[in-house]
């Protein structure tokens, strides 16, 4: 892993800090198509479900215990829990939980999970300040545009070097969104971006620990505080992003400035956001999808003699674990993914519990899965044949898995995913009310009611 970084400093970078600040401060409310606005609603719903779903995780417990030592004021809701904390701490904890299951959204071009930093900051701020749903949706679209455009400019070099790009661009999206929600002018928005620019969060070495989901949480908090400081006159460099010793040139040797400025205000990065149908690495998704389709075609686990997979080499390289011992290992097992898809017709967090992974029928079914690498199969695809005890063969070819940009999850599928995450925490009726409120969030006069719905009864 050699790093290509022998590059001279760029002294002629365009003034992207100012360009983004002016865009965020002055772009009209709902200055985009209905399709973009709907994408924002989908992103918001998906983010909220992930945060509520992981509310009882030990990472949330540990983070909240630390926050509680500050004796925080009860300004904002910790989603899926009864505690209320100050809005900065709420943005931290909700950002953590939204990424804890690795089940949140993905901007596929950069592997940024954009909602965590931005939405976590915005809902906490909006809840406390009384901002409207329309203001929140506007700020979400604009904030995500900022972090993903900066990500586009630096990807892949920045990620390859070791940065967890969700946290190292997310503080900019959160700062931009919060500046918009606070109504800051272009000058103060530039200062918010500047203060945030000094706080990129997260290295990839942390993957597999609680500090991975800490990254979007910390980015949310940093962005929110940067906006509050800018509002009160705190200053930063107006060229904090692009200067030779500014953030982007310091943390990346690839910086394609056009990715920030091209079609700004016309093309919105939130339209390239995707949602995971399955709670595991994206490389197994085609295989799980295929097995869900086998089940829909009437294939029953007890009738199966063998499941033959033809996969891209990456699938076995990353997820070739034949006998996973627990839920975490199962997330790296294409064999378990197939068994779950065929047995349950889904593979959400529950299907990766230690208990399910160790069930005798799951162990047996995993052993019937035979995966071989086929160079003709694309990374996004899979070829699956179920060989049944009676000799029948049922074949499914998946070109693009459900959840990809080519085959996005339907709104109904997003609702089902939300229920899977939120029902155990809030109960199905309350979860249904949250879903309905989310689809109509742009019309909400305030967000306190929505936040209150996310507190378990």
């Amino acid at each position: 892993m050699a790093r290509n970084t022998q590059v001279p400093a760029d002294h002629n970078a365009p003034p992207v800090t100012q360009t983004l600040a002016t865009f965020v401060a002055t772009h009209p409310s709902r200055g985009w198509s209905d399709a973009v606005d709907h994408d924002a609603h989908r992103t918001f719903l998906n983010w909220l479900g992930c945060a509520v779903g992981a509310a009882r995780h030990e990472a949330a417990d540990a983070a909240l215990a630390a926050v509680r030592m500050l004796d925080p004021a009860p300004q904002a809701t910790v989603l899926g829990r009864k505690e209320r904390v100050d809005m900065a701490s709420a943005s931290l904890v909700n950002g953590i939980t939204s990424h804890t299951f690795d089940f949140d959204d993905t901007h596929l071009k950069t592997i940024i999970h954009p909602a965590g930093p931005v939405a976590s900051a915005l809902l906490a701020l909006a809840e406390h300040t009384g901002a409207s749903g329309r203001q929140l949706v506007d700020a979400l679209v604009l904030g995500i545009d900022v972090s993903c455009r900066v990500g586009n400019a630096m990807y892949p070099e920045h990620y390859d070097r070791g940065w967890h790009i969700t946290g190292s661009t997310g503080m900019l999206g959160a700062a931009a969104g919060c500046a918009r929600l606070l109504g800051l002018d272009a000058q103060r928005t530039a200062m918010a971006l500047g203060i945030a620019a000094s706080q990129p969060v997260g290295m990839r070495e942390q993957f597999g620990t609680m500090t991975k989901p800490f990254h979007p949480g910390s980015a949310a908090r940093a962005g929110l505080m940067a906006a509050l400081m800018a509002r009160h006159g705190y200053t930063a460099s107006g060229r904090a992003l692009e200067a030779p010793r500014g953030m982007m040139q310091t943390v990346s040797t690839k910086n394609d400035w056009r990715e920030i400025t091209d079609e700004l205000g016309q093309r919105f990065e939130i339209t390239f956001n995707s949602y995971k149908p399955f709670a595991c690495g994206i490389v197994i998704h085609p295989s799980i999808d295929a097995c869900v389709q086998l089940r829909e075609q009437g294939v029953k686990p007890e009738d199966v003699e063998r499941i033959e997979l033809k996969v891209h080499s990456l699938v076995l390289e990353l997820t070739g674990k034949k006998e996973p011992a627990d839920g975490l290992q199962a997330k790296f097992s294409v064999y378990h993914g197939c068994a779950a898809g065929l047995t349950f017709g889904r593979a959400a967090e529950d299907e990766f519990s230690d208990e399910v992974v160790n069930r005798a029928d799951m162990v047996a079914l995993r052993r019937k899965v035979v995966a071989t690498v086929d160079d003709a199969i694309d990374e996004a695809s899979v070829d699956v044949t179920a060989v049944l005890a009676d000799g029948r063969r049922v074949h499914v070819f998946v070109e693009h898995a459900i959840g990809s940009l080519q085959r996005p999850m339907s709104d109904a599928q997003l609702e089902a995913k939300f229920h899977g995450l939120a029902d155990p925490v809030l109960g199905p009726p309350a979860a249904a009310r949250v879903i309905e409120t989310c689809w109509n969030v742009a019309g909400a006069p305030e967000l306190r009611s929505l936040a209150a719905l996310c507190v378990p009864g």
Copy 2:
């Protein structure tokens, strides 16, 4: 400015995260010489004076206004002010003020200003938890050792690339110090270092804005929270510093691991800390020092016809401003520095006020200073001759300026500096009591009394 970064990842780095954690958690209290302990007291006194002195600066006002929006609990003192805020916010604001005047300490080998991040976190935490002065001094020595050793390993490449090394190593020192103060074991201390490692703060582009002093403040806050999270079981990578995609390899292509491990527990970096006698860039210090010496030899401003300086080329490159218009510009004027030294015998923050800078006698005296580059003169030195109206010539050669490691400020000079900073805020009698308390801080049963002395009456 090409950046030398074409280096392969180092897969054989020693386990420095664990080494530092074990050191911080297990090194004996006062496990060093009396001289080291005295250096810790000097560092603490100097830091406290800088923080109190800048308490009324507009950067402190803006940061506090943002913090106040969180409705913080009154856990800890904002030094030099009446407000009390939660301990994390206090560490942020005190870290900001301690660096606002660019008058704090310097670890010359790395240009790290080590006390800001570490002491700001420690005093706020100690005030709230009731820790003793001995615990604070121990944690200060160990925390500063961690940040400066990591800095030694990465300097100069990391700094050259654009990082403000005070903030990008300071969060580690703050986390280490707070972990020690909380009594965490080696395992949890490693987690605190790991969580902090994902939060390097600050780029050099921010120099000249309020975000520069934000860097040590933000690092203090990040380190304190990392320790609190680790205490409650939050996890991070145990190789967060040294892994190929860990912090150090991500933010620096030079990593000399021996700088971290060599003589650990025997050589303490705090002994290489220095204190600025003058409130401006270090490159002018020899010239000011020389003019102070001229004054002590009886040279009066009104008798001077000309002051001839022979200086290193860097002096004019960085501080060659002949006619500064205000205090900020005067900090980059060797001419003003000389005029202040000869007129007042000092050059603290007051001597760089707009009012002093624009006084007619100062303008006239500055114009009598003639500086020429002499290749025989070292960067640390200056050769000065005052030519008087009566034709006499008074000559002073300064090899190392006051404040350097070779000619450290005496304790009495540090006290005078403290009075210059704190008297306008606290009044001279209270400032004197703070000084006395600081010299005896290791014997203090708690630190609330000291913090209370730093609140204006």
